[in-house]
Amino acid sequence: MHHIYCPYCEEMREEEEYSYTGEAHIERPKDPAAISDEAWADYMFFRSNPRGIHHEMWYHAAGCRRYFNATRDTQSYKVHETYKMGEMPSITAETLAQAKGDAS
């Protein structure tokens, strides 16, 4: 029983309806032929694997069939926010650290 907010359906839906589709905000190199093999491999295969805040794509497979982004804590599985494709996260590891610093 884990509910995730779909920014297109605009409501909380059960996790069963979704599937995880990998790290978000990975931009394809504008001119692949001009970059090194190492840079291409980095784009193609290598993903960050953070302990804590991770920005990732989710797919509302059984619902509206739209991809969207989520900011999730990989330790607690807490989904801090979800936002539409093309938007940037309002919550990052830095803003959370900042908020934590302000509170103490």
Binding site: C9, E10, R13, E14, E17, A62, G63, C64, R65, R66
Partner: protein, 199 residues
């Protein structure tokens, strides 16, 4: 073997379940609204030329709010995502509606797809319906969360479905043809304690 519906050359996905009834006062009643025309429509909701052309053909404006629907006689329009709708029209009229939509939106960046043969519409009602839905779907079907006219795409016994709440409290479910037999077997099992009648 149960009775097969041979009255038409078309075969409903649930044709072999037509005569199935296992309770006199069944708590769950299933009625297939077969052979309806199903059209999938995609277009840009911000484009006034698109929305006005669709409204002219269907007689109603496309529902823009998430999870909403509109009805106009035999025509039902379900919101599927911000640029996708499901039109369910009277049996046999889908070809004409598709042609009308195409001519009204000539030159626009749109898609109209006839998916009538791939899915079917099933109505569920009865006194055991609430409990049946609680067993079958992960979605919260309480009236505070699922008012009349709302359309929800979710899972029903793990298969995909698009469901709409009707004024009489029953649900219209759009199910895949390829999953219709599985759907029925699940329904028969889940409604065993209330009794199932297939109208």
């Amino acid at each position: 073997m149960t009775n097969f519906d041979t009255s038409t050359s078309m075969e409903s996905p649930l044709r072999h379940r037509v005569a199935h009834t296992n309770a006199a006062n069944a708590g769950v009643v299933m009625k297939e609204d077969k052979y309806r025309g199903h059209l999938n429509l995609r277009g840009n909701p911000q484009d006034a030329a698109f929305t006005s052309a669709v409204e002219k053909v269907l007689g109603v404006a496309l529902p823009m709010a998430p999870s909403s629907s509109v009805r106009n006689g035999d025509t039902v329009v379900y919101w599927l995502c911000p640029n996708e709708w499901l039109l369910i029209v009277a049996n046999g009229t889908q070809g004409q509606v598709e042609a009308d939509l195409r001519s009204a939106m000539d030159g626009q960046h749109i898609a109209v797809t006839d998916i009538s043969s791939g899915q079917t519409l099933v109505n569920l009602s009865g006194t055991g319906l609430t409990e049946l839905m609680q067993k079958s779907t992960v979605y919260d079907c309480h009236e505070s969360n699922f008012p009349v006219g709302k359309v929800v795409q979710t899972t029903f016994a793990k298969t995909g479905t698009t469901m709409c709440k009707l004024e009489d409290g029953s649900y219209d479910l759009v199910i895949r043809r390829s999953f219709s037999d599985y759907f029925f077997l699940w329904l028969r099992d889940a409604s065993d304690e209330y009794g199932l009648s297939v109208a």
